[in-house]
């Protein structure tokens, strides 16, 4: 299993009341599979992805990543797993506005200490794979939203991760572009043997998934 959660719970305090954003979630995800977590806004999808992605810490329960119990790890070890093994794709792309397309893709590699010539070589390959080889020196503001998400995909794959977490990857895109992006993600993950967990409320995405889960009020059920 690349990811396994045991009784994963995240409770937030809002004023005087406690809200369980993720409630007792048990999940097992095999290598190279594509998982869809489907549900309305506020169902707890993003919180679950953040917990699996080691950005957030659970109130109770455990997350195992590639067999390692992450609850026993310190912040620095969790960061290293994020950097080298997990790629993130956000709804709003979250590209650094002052960096060019190629620099945004090189960024995770720079943080991982990969030599500059290697960064450039790998970034060019990834940008070619997402069809942006001619726009490498453009700034994010000079790109369309579809192109920005392609850059985000290339960035997520930069350090050859084992897992990609995509949070509403088509949320900001029109239907046609959304479909293109999802197909691209699907193809790249299959080609590179990467596991992908997609959180979405877009029903059209369901066709690419190996397993579909529905999330509602913090609980997860397999469809």
């Amino acid at each position: 299993m690349i990811v396994e959660t045991i009784n994963l719970t995240k409770i937030y305090r809002v004023g005087s009341s406690l809200i369980a954003a993720v409630n007792n979630v048990n999940l097992k995800i095999k290598e190279e599979s594509i998982i869809l977590i489907f549900g309305p806004s506020g169902a707890g999808k993003t919180t679950l992805l953040n917990l699996i992605g080691l950005i957030d810490e659970p109130t109770s329960g455990k997350v195992f990543f590639d067999g390692t119990d992450t609850s026993a790890l310190g912040e620095n070890e969790r960061r290293r797993i994020r950097l080298k093994n997990i790629g993130f794709i956000f709804q709003t792309f979250n590209l650094l506005p002052q960096l060019t397309v190629i620099e945004n893709v090189e960024l995770p590699m720079a943080l991982a200490g990969i030599p500059p010539y290697e960064q450039e070589k790998r970034a060019l390959e990834l940008l070619e794979a997402v069809g942006l080889e001619k726009r490498i020196n453009h700034l994010p503001k000079q790109l369309s939203v579809g192109e920005m998400q392609r850059v985000a995909i290339a960035r997520a794959l930069a350090n050859a991760p084992k897992l990609i977490l995509a949070d509403e990857p088509t949320g900001e895109l029109d239907t046609k572009t959304g479909t293109e992006i999802i197909n691209l993600l699907h193809d790249l993950c299959r080609e590179k043997g990467v596991t992908m967990i997609v959180a979405t409320h877009d029903e059209k995405i369901t066709k690419i998934a190996d397993t579909i889960y529905r999330m509602h009020d913090g609980t997860l059920e397999q469809l």
């Binding site: 950005i55 994020r82 950097l83 993130f88 979250n94 620099e103 943080l111």
Partner: protein, 389 residues
């Protein structure tokens, strides 16, 4: 892609703020260098005055104002040399006339433009160690017609050896030019005692006598004996002269450091505030960086490098403008042409001052980056990634 490259991009991205910050630092450093150069010139001159008369006793009129070894005004009779000769433990006595060309009443000046020194020329090497000075030409052989001048004076008036100078109503010949690191001697006109007495109408009078004690003599005892025997003079030992001027030098240094710390503290606050605004506006970018695996040290470095880059640019520009300001301050207070100071720029702005100001600026900018960097590290990644901007 390196962290410094990201910092450069960030600074370029927020161009106006960066320019304002750099301008603030530039202004502060300009101020520091301008004031620092003036202060260090004054303190170096005062300190040098005493180093010329190390281990010697200066005998001056009782009520005169003395800056280290040199009296401002006041006269004593030349016959004092005979009286001093009667005291035991004295190896040599050098009568001197020392005149600061302050020209008060005409233009008020802090720095003297020229210094006239009159002394028996055969005793010149006893007073001024010529080993660290270079004399172009020769020491005057005709005491009533020839003079030596300092390099700065010679350069200012384009003088060469053998030139005739019309000085205070006398036609004098330039026999030599003194060059070297001495601020005092570079602005001096050195002549025989007789000639100085004639020009400045010191009839059988001198402004000071330099008493050189025997090697093993008790300097304090000799000075006491001089004052007890000759009641109209002060005999100042090196320690006494230092006691007179050290409080002034200490005050100058305290004010200099006070001004430096005040200016740099204001600059540090300016940079810290602007950088905190920058970090707040880039919360999502920092959250993204943390999410994709940037280490705490990388985030810290990113913020602090930005402030250091601001300090570096501001510091270098400030040194440039500060140098120009220092040249004009020195020029306006001495009537020595600015060009002359530019030619000897590193005498005015010493390498020590350059290094000190640059290090202080960089340290200030580094410290001012710490609070924004901590602020960036404390960003709640979950909230920042969810927030809509």
């Amino acid at each position: 892609m390196r962290i410094t490259a990201i910092c450069f991009r960030n600074l370029k991205h927020r161009r106006l703020r960066t320019i304002l910050c750099i301008s603030g630092i530039t202004l502060a450093v300009t101020f520091l260098v301008g004031i620092g150069a003036a202060t260090s010139r004054i303190t170096a001159t005062i300190e040098e005055m005493n180093s010329l008369f190390e281990d010697e006793i200066i005998v001056v009129s009782r009520d005169v104002f003395v800056i280290q070894g040199f009296p401002i005004g006041g006269v004593i009779p030349e016959t004092i040399v005979n009286e001093l000769n009667e005291i035991e433990g004295i190896e040599d006595i050098i009568p001197m006339i020392f005149i600061l060309d302050l020209k008060t009443g005409e233009v008020s000046r802090v720095f003297p433009a020229n210094i006239t020194i009159g002394l028996p020329l055969n005793k010149l090497p006893l007073i001024f160690s010529l080993s660290f000075l270079r004399v172009e030409g020769s020491i005057p052989s005709e005491p009533c017609k020839e003079v030596l001048v300092g390099g700065s004076v010679a350069d200012q008036y384009d003088l060469s050896i053998g030139d005739t100078i019309f000085y205070e109503g006398e036609n004098l010949t330039l026999s030599g030019i003194i060059r070297g690191p001495s601020i005092i001697l570079s602005r001096s006109i050195i002549m025989s005692l007789e000639l100085a007495q004639k020009i400045y109408k010191y009839n059988a009078q001198i402004s000071m006598a330099v008493v050189k004690p025997d090697v093993n003599a008790d300097v304090e005892k000799i000075a006491s004996e001089i004052e007890s025997r000759i009641n109209y003079v002060m005999a100042l030992t090196e320690n006494e002269r230092n006691e007179l001027t050290n409080p002034v030098l200490d005050q100058l240094k305290i004010w200099d450091w006070g001004i430096k710390l005040f200016s740099l503290s204001i600059s540090a606050m300016l940079i810290a505030i602007v950088e905190i605004i920058n970090v707040s506006e880039s919360r999502r970018d920092f959250a993204t960086l943390i999410a994709i695996g940037a280490s705490k040290s990388a985030i810290f470095k990113m913020v602090v490098t930005e402030t250091i880059l601001i300090g570096l640019f501001g510091g270098l520009l400030g040194l440039l403008f500060g140098g120009i300001v220092a040249v004009f301050i020195a020029s306006s207070y001495t009537s020595i042409p600015a060009l002359l100071f530019i030619q000897s720029f590193f005498d005015l702005i010493s390498p020590y001052l350059i290094v000190e100001v640059l290090l202080l600026t960089l340290a200030t900018c580094c410290i001012s980056g710490v609070i924004p960097a901590v602020f960036a590290l404390k960003i709640n990644v979950n909230e920042a990634l969810r927030a809509e901007y």
